[in-house]
């Protein structure tokens, strides 16, 4: 069954990719969707078996690397963490496949698209189910490649190609460190199995663990868009919307979070890393919120909100509440995928290619179903009571306060600010899309109608998920006796959930809700009644702040000027003087010219004259006599003379 989960998507991808031109668009679509569906069904069966019946599966197909003491198998592990991560991955992957049937309906290269999409799913499943770091790394690389292919799917557009490259470059930066981390793990424990490393956790040097974890964290930060390595996320909105919905809601961005949750056994023994994770998560959640309130691109806003939510997951890891992070990961995937899909539905319905929310407006009458979906998703994102987001997000923010540490207290305010900003940009998005004055041309409004029904089926399912799933599986993940504690390790010193549960004041618990509702109301009032106050370019100071946020803290410019240009220059120098200079001269070119030269010499010697040949033969005879008489020393001297003749 594990094989079925992992490899059915690969088979679908290969069939669609290689045989696509023979079996046609229709059949390749059907086969790919079927393959993901098989994976989905088996995943749910295993979910019940693992989470409810407390089973654990390990499937070792064959041995992969077997050098000295290093044994690495093709092994797959289905425990509670991997199956919990697998649920959103496979569910959303399947729903996105169905969604893409409509969204990509008019594209001429659908076989290729579905092949990539399914291949991405395969990579993600491989990442999640692998039972050692190497399988995980394989999946990690596969999703890197697949995301590059998907983001630059419309490769004839220069911006799509550029953003694909950007994403690949950023991920490669992280992957480099991940590889270093893996090498250090091999150096340290001589194995890449999770079990070996995690069972040795208490006996390893903390410094070494910290170094390893910094490397892993950099890898995770590039995949899970932490501030500093986040630029690719915003650029990658160039890809088709199903891609964004799959990559940036459920799969790619949670890979890093998954790895950190998996590594809970060693993170707990390195307090420095916990603080680093906490700080980076806090900064990225706040910064992305600030960027989002000043952005105007619909998909970019949603992407920034993803970044913010992933930051909150990082906060959950930073205060050692891994089950909270995992729960938020699951819940967030559903409503974020819904949000992306709704945005895609709007883009698809409008059909003029503009994604700027200022060009939209008054879509409420035309797209009611989309409005409902986007409203549910936004409210869930804003963590309104009763919806999914409420159960998962607020508890993390509370736990920050409930940890009663200085860092936790500071980061609590960061997270509170981020939660508030989340509601601001969500309301802003909804207002601009649905209630604002109509800003599009009349032609658009005349032809604006709801998308085909098939597109709304996955959205409806996701809407139901984002309402109910939090309430339904709350106890499974957040309760005191959650079975998740079998597979993750929380150091007793870092166990805060009892404090959080019983010692916090009610107003602390309600503070995020209060601030967000308050600010929402103020914002709506401003939009409706005092809109002239929002003409920010009239104000001297707000203008600069707005520009600063709108240009994403000028981070792109900074990283371009200081990081990219210099590193490009260095790599140019390396390329010119090392790769194509010394190495070529000493390597291929030098060797070949040397051997040709030698060959010339030998051939000259051969066709020289008879006298030399006889001379050589007698010389060899004397050589034999030399050895006959004494030692090898003479022999070597004679040999050297012979060579230099």
């Amino acid at each position: 069954m594990i094989n079925l989960i992992v490899f059915s998507t690969l088979i679908g991808s290969l069939i669609s990719g290689f045989l696509g031109r023979y079996i046609g668009i229709k059949w390749s679509r059907n086969i790919v969707c079927l393959s993901v569906f098989i994976s989905l069904i088996t995943t749910y069966i295993l979910f019940i078996s693992v989470m409810i019946n407390n089973n654990e599966y390990r499937n070792i197909i064959m041995s992969w690397i077997n050098v000295d003491f290093l044994n690495i198998d093709w092994g797959f592990l289905i425990d509670k963490i991997s199956i919990s991560t697998l649920i959103p991955v496979v569910t959303i992957s399947f729903l996105v496949h169905i969604y893409a049937l409509v969204y990509m309906n008019h594209d001429p290269h659908q076989q290729r698209f579905f092949s990539y999409l399914s291949f991405f799913t395969f990579g993600m499943i491989l990442l999640v189910t692998g039972d050692n770091f190497l399988i995980l790394f394989l999946g990690w690389e596969l999703i890197g490649v697949a995301s590059y292919l998907l983001i630059s799917f419309w490769f004839t557009r220069i911006s799509a190609a550029k953003s694909g490259l950007n994403s690949l470059l950023m991920n490669r930066f992280g992957d480099t460190f991940l590889v270093i981390g893996l090498a250090l793990i091999i150096y340290l424990v001589g194995s890449l199995n999770f079990d070996t490393l995690f069972s040795l956790n208490a006996y390893l040097s903390t410094d070494m663990l910290t170094i390893i974890l910094i490397c892993l964290l950099l890898g995770c930060a590039s995949k899970s868009v932490q501030f500093g390595l986040h630029t690719w996320l915003l650029n990658s909105m160039e890809g088709p919307t199903p891609v964004s919905s799959l990559l940036h809601a459920a799969c790619l961005v949670i890979a890093g979070v998954y790895l950190l949750i998996r590594c809970s056994f060693i993170i707990e023994y390195s307090p420095i890393i916990l603080i680093i994770i906490l700080i980076s998560g806090g900064i990225s959640t706040l910064v992305s919120g600030l960027m989002a309130i000043a952005s105007n691109d619909i998909k970019r806003i949603i992407a920034l909100s993803t970044m913010s939510q992933v930051g909150i997951m990082m906060l959950g890891i930073g205060i050692s509440a891994y089950n909270l992070a995992l729960f938020h990961l699951i819940c967030h995937s559903f409503f974020k995928a819904l949000l992306f899909m709704s945005a895609g539905a709007i883009i698809h319905a409008v059909g003029n290619g503009y994604q700027d929310i200022r060009t939209y407006g008054s879509f409420l009458k035309f797209l009611p179903l989309t409005y409902i979906c986007i409203l549910i998703a936004s409210l869930s994102l804003m963590a309104l009571p009763g919806l999914t987001g409420y159960y998962s997000k607020d508890i993390i923010i509370e736990t920050l306060y409930g940890s009663y540490t200085l860092t936790g207290y500071i980061i609590y305010w960061f997270a509170l600010g981020s939660a508030t900003l989340t509601s601001i940009y969500s309301i802003r998005l909804i207002y601009y899309l649905f209630f604002n004055k109509p800003n599009n041309p009349k032609y658009i409004y005349l032809h604006l109608r709801e998308n085909p029904t098939l597109m709304y089926i996955p959205m409806t399912i996701l809407a139901l998920f984002s309402i109910f799933i939090g309430y339904l599986i709350k106890d499974l993940y957040l309760g005191m006796g959650t079975p998740l504690y079998n597979n993750m390790f929380i150091h007793p010193n870092n166990l805060y959930f009892i404090d959080t549960e019983f010692s916090l004041n009610t107003y602390i618990k309600l503070l995020p809700l209060i601030t967000s509702i308050l600010l929402c109301i103020i914002l709506i009032l401003f939009y409706e009644l005092y809109y002239n106050k929002l003409f920010i370019y009239n104000s001297k100071y707000i203008k600069y702040i707005y520009k600063f946020f709108n240009q994403k803290f000028y981070y792109d410019q900074i990283i371009n000027n200081y990081a990219y240009r210099s590193s490009l220059y260095i790599s140019y120098l390396l390329n010119t003087y090392i790769d194509k200079g010394i190495l070529i001269f000493l390597g291929p070119y030098g060797l070949s010219s040397l051997s040709l030269h030698l060959s010339n010499l030998i051939n000259k010697l051969v066709f020289f004259n008879l006298g030399l040949i006889i001379e050589l033969i007698f010389f060899s005879l004397f050589l034999a006599l030399f050895i006959h008489s004494y030692s090898l020393l003479y022999f070597f001297i004679a040999l050297i003379i012979f060579i230099f003749i």
Binding site: S595, N603, V606, L612, I613, F642
Partner: protein
């Protein structure tokens, strides 16, 4: 049988008129003789009888399983060679006359095969010298057989001088041994092996190395292989090696009986020679433009592989040696017979690519019409099957897995690694990858220049000029119908030349053996293992 047959052939040769058909008849008679000898040998000697080996001619010669199987191999190769000689290679006699042979060539070859067979059976140092002279002199004569050709005479003289030096060195070693213990019979020498100066055996070995042209003494072999006619090169670059290497194997078995450091020293010295031969055999061939020079380097390389198998002296070494020499001979004969056929497709003129109208003569000897690697370019357009056979043979030399060369190299590597010669094994791998470069060069010339070929050889003109040449050769004997057919054929398929069934049969069978050797690999190894049982007591 061989001796009596020599008599018959001598008489026949002397009464024969000097005409091509009659020469063929003589060759066919000697072919029959060889086949008959082979049949007799197979019937008389079987493995179970030879397990212990038996001495003949007053303990002068010894026959055991290894010798016996090598006799069979030599006879088979001789038969294949004689087949090439004794039939026309195409239906046009004038073209066939390009491969000129003397009428006493077959006689000399039978002499030489007698020498080669006896050389392997040698059990006495005096007889060793006598037989090596028998073998060598017939070889010198074969090399110089086309005495109107300058190159042929030159190479014969080279061979004579250097070969007599080798004989002299062998004699020197024999004298040294006789001086020490006063014995010449190898069986007795083994009994007193600790009393003699072992370097005398080394000197004998050096003499033999000179005869087969290993690295420090390789110069002359490259020269004579390049200069002598193709048909002769085919013979002299393969046959002597078969028997002399077997003799070396016997001598090294004797050396290995000594249990002290001297033994190790000798093996180290031979390893050094192998190393030098490998390096020179691989690097020397890299910028060679003559096909025969290249094949000479390749044979130097392959001989050093076989010597590596020989010195490693374990159970695998005999298996590796027998297998390698068998597959190498097959590949070698195959390549040379294809090279022999190429001139049929080649124009005696080459066109200047820059100026199509300007036709000029290129030096092409009628003794070795295919001199340069670039002349092989013709083959792909003219006869693609032949081209594929050629490429398969070269792949086998490179060692591409399903072909026979791969298994040979594998066995050599296994035998040398079993004995711990790691440095030489690594050298073998490096060297075979370097040699893949020049083999690959041939393949490039053969197959990757299609467009270039197409432009250079404008087919229509080409055919007409070819016909002119044919007319010049002999107007009367050309088949008019074939010519007309050729005129009408716009594709320029040079179909006037049909190959003889005989040579095509040889080439196809050899190529199939090279390809399909993996089917019978187990049986071959089993057979060689049986041979091994007989000699390593």
């Amino acid at each position: 049988m061989l001796l009596s047959s020599i008599l018959i052939v001598t008489v026949l040769t002397s009464i024969m008129r000097d005409k091509n058909e009659y020469k063929k008849w003589v060759n066919r008679i000697s072919l029959i003789i060889l086949i008959y000898v082979l049949l007799i040998n197979v019937n008389i000697n079987n493995i179970s009888d030879l397990i212990l080996g038996y001495n003949i001619y007053n303990n002068m010669l010894i026959i055991n399983n290894l010798n016996n199987s090598m006799i069979n191999i030599i006879l088979i190769i001789g038969i294949i060679y004689m087949l090439l000689l004794s039939y026309n290679i195409s239906i046009i006699k004038e073209i066939d006359r390009l491969i000129i042979i003397r009428k006493w060539l077959s006689l000399l070859i039978i002499f030489n095969i007698l020498g080669l067979i006896l050389l392997m059976l040698v059990n006495d140092l005096i007889l060793l010298f006598v037989i090596i002279e028998l073998q060598s002199y017939s070889l010198y004569l074969i090399t110089a057989i086309n005495n109107e050709s300058n190159n042929s005479i030159k190479s014969g003289l080279y061979y004579f001088i250097v070969g007599s030096l080798g004989s002299f060195i062998i004699l020197d070693g024999t004298i040294g041994i006789y001086e020490d213990i006063g014995l010449t019979n190898l069986e007795y020498i083994i009994l007193y092996i600790d009393n003699i100066n072992i370097y005398n055996i080394l000197i004998i070995l050096f003499g033999l190395f000179i005869k087969i042209g290993l690295a420090p003494f390789y110069n002359y072999s490259i020269t004579i292989y390049t200069l002598s006619p193709t048909m002769i090169t085919n013979y002299i670059s393969l046959m002597p090696k078969l028997s002399i290497l077997t003799l070396i194997l016997n001598l090294i078995n004797i050396i290995n009986l000594i249990h002290n450091n001297i033994n190790l020293n000798i093996i180290n010295l031979i390893s050094l020679i192998i190393f030098i031969s490998m390096i020179i055999g691989s690097i020397g061939g890299m910028n060679v433009i003559r096909i025969k020079t290249l094949l000479a380097y390749s044979s130097l390389l392959n001989v050093s592989y076989m010597l590596l198998a020989i010195i490693s002296n374990n159970n695998y070494s005999i298996i590796a040696y027998l297998f390698y020499i068998l597959q190498y001979s097959i590949t070698h004969i195959n390549i040379f017979s294809i090279i022999l056929l190429i001139p049929l497709y080649s124009n005696l003129y080459l066109y200047n690519s820059n100026n199509n109208n300007n036709i000029y003569n290129v030096m092409i000897s009628k003794y070795s019409p295919i001199e340069y690697i670039s002349q092989l370019k013709l083959l792909l357009n003219k006869n693609i099957c032949l081209c594929i056979c050629f490429i398969i043979s070269i792949f086998s030399l490179i060692g591409i897995p399903p072909l026979s060369g791969f298994y040979g190299k594998l066995l050599v590597l296994i035998s040398s690694l079993n004995n711990g010669y790691i440095f030489l094994s690594i050298t073998l791998v490096i060297v075979s990858s370097i040699s893949a470069y020049y083999y690959g060069n041939i393949i490039k010339e053969l197959s990757f220049d299609i467009l270039n070929n197409y432009n250079i050889f404008n087919y229509k003109e080409y055919n007409i000029s070819n016909i002119k040449i044919l007319n010049k050769l002999n107007k009367n004997e050309l088949n008019k119908n074939n010519l007309l057919y050729n005129m009408n054929n716009k594709d320029g398929d040079n179909s006037i030349i049909y190959l003889n069934n005989n040579i095509t049969y040889i080439i196809s069978v050899l190529t199939l053996i090279i390809i399909l050797i993996s089917l019978e690999y187990d049986n071959i190894i089993g057979g060689t293992y049986l041979v091994l049982l007989g000699i390593n007591i």
